[in-house]
Symmetry: C2
Subunit: 316 residues, 2 copies
């Protein structure tokens, strides 16, 4: 690690929580502008390993522990109405990651009605590349999927939905060098982080990116003269893979969610037909690398959403 | 023009239509692999010019002529179930473009309820750059907004909504060097094109890109062994502006349309607060350069859509 931290929060059970709540006692109080290193468990809380198979995904579906988040860290003097800036300085994976989805109509993900068996790929992460099947190599762009501050609302809240105060944003552009701005709602802000992804396509369509344990180093800064209603951020990408050529499928519908489903279904068929992937493999690959754009949202009554796969990930 | 065309369809009234219909007589029949140059009028059908003001937008709102499309061109031997590949070889603007939106709750665009007066910006297009207010320069990336083949459905159909056979796709990535694949539904395919944009942000949020008259040269190819349900395409971008840093606003909601509206509203506020733009100017600029991504669509019940503006468009 090249960045010098002022604090290091290790991932022992006492530093982990699986709900958002201002009732969680801070594990550390830091000053504004301090640099903090967080050891983050993967989203499964260490339940998968190199030997796991798709059958092991059933037990995850029943798991109620949520994303294990490291924290919370209190920032001295942070007040409601302030903004917490999180400068992401360094993210370091540990060589392994997991993509998976749950089965069934009541399951998670964009297309639970299309898949009735679970899917799993264990990724070997190496030299900026994650290895999939058929020689496909996905470029890594590590980021924390779940980071935020405590909401002012009483009680304990699920870590799954993102909120005004951040949380499970799953914004793939929160890579090293990016800055996230979060509206502070409680004294001390109470910042936590976890659920890191070594790579992810926009949408995180099968419900997981490349879920990976990671060490994240960030500077926490309080800003008092910024007014935002929901999180904002600055980033340099990644917006594509080295400007390479993309194949894209459109989804056209009068409903944005339906258009999104169509775009991904057409991409799964494209990957199945042209790149010799099973539909399960194609769905997992979409979630790891395929990006989603809203092309137009004004030509009523039909909107266009497109799904983009970079051609450079496939072997020649 | 550097590309040699086999055919040139000029924009006289006899070569223009403003509905989609297989009843339109082809203005030319070409062979598969022929290169065709299309003169395309702008979306307003020449109703705006360098001296236009925002008051002139009222008359456009009442205009029922739709997008003037050049064509249709029949491709010999094209049959239903074939795919028409459109290789976009060259796009040439004429130095001027228009961004505008209509007023009122019944108007068009993503946020008609927020804007009660019309907006207009006349763009001077020069050396790959469009000039906005306050020294802001938007990089040009010309593409046709509306291109497709005739649907098999009887009657005359509005050119506004995109459909299975293409039409008003407004996909900003259909730039020079891209290929669009369209499902053919009628004999001869009956391809038409128009509504060109010198630049556009994902979503085309105010309802217009930089609307510009343009000359488009494309190769039309029939493919018989490709099965697609809606349009697909290959492109190398643009996905961002030279990899430059972006400022992004999130929209978080349990509805994708509402999340999109929130992301753009937060961006308009950001541009107003930090770049000295009126809200009308900010809305017009969003439609010309701000991109939209679906960051996550699986962390129920809340989805995240983000709006991105490249920092490089602003003067130092």
């Amino acid at each position: 690690m090249t960045t010098t931290s002022d604090h290091h929060i290790i991932a022992i059970d006492e530093h982990i929580h699986t709900t958002w709540s201002y009732e969680h006692e801070p594990v550390q109080t830091v000053e504004s502008n301090d640099i903090v290193t967080f050891d983050c468990r993967d989203a499964t809380n260490n339940q998968l390993d190199i030997a796991s198979t798709s059958g092991d995904v059933y037990s995850l579906a029943d798991d109620s522990t949520g994303h294990p988040l490291t924290g919370p860290v209190a920032v001295a003097d942070a007040q409601p109405e302030d903004v917490l800036a999180v400068d992401l300085l360094e993210l370091q994976h540990e060589g392994i990651g997991f993509s998976y989805f749950y089965p069934g109509d009541e399951g998670w993900g964009l297309l639970p009605e299309d898949f009735h068996d679970p899917g799993l790929h264990v990724w070997e992460l190496d030299d900026g590349i994650g290895r999939f099947v058929n020689g496909i190599e996905v470029p890594l762009a590590p980021f924390p999927g779940n980071l935020g501050v405590a909401p002012a609302v009483e009680g304990k809240h699920s870590t799954t939905p993102p909120r005004r105060v951040g949380g499970n944003l799953d914004v793939k552009h929160l890579t090293t060098g990016s800055t996230l701005y979060l509206p502070v709602e409680v004294e001390g802000a109470l910042f936590s982080i976890g659920d890191c992804h070594a790579a992810q396509g926009d949408g995180e369509v099968c419900v997981t990116g490349i879920e990976a344990p990671m060490i994240v180093t960030a500077r926490l800064r309080i800003i008092s003269d910024m007014d935002i209603k929901q999180p904002q951020f600055e980033t340099a990408g990644p917006f594509s893979v080295n400007g390479d050529r993309m194949h894209a499928t459109t989804g056209i519908s009068d409903d944005l969610m339906d258009a999104t489903k169509k775009a991904i279904r057409h991409m799964i068929t494209h990957l199945h037909d042209h790149h010799d992937l099973t539909r399960t493999e194609a769905y997992l690959l979409c979630s790891a690398i395929v990006d989603l754009k809203i092309n137009e949202v004004v030509d009523k009554p039909n909107w266009v959403v497109s799904a983009y796969v970079p051609q450079s990930i496939f072997p020649d």
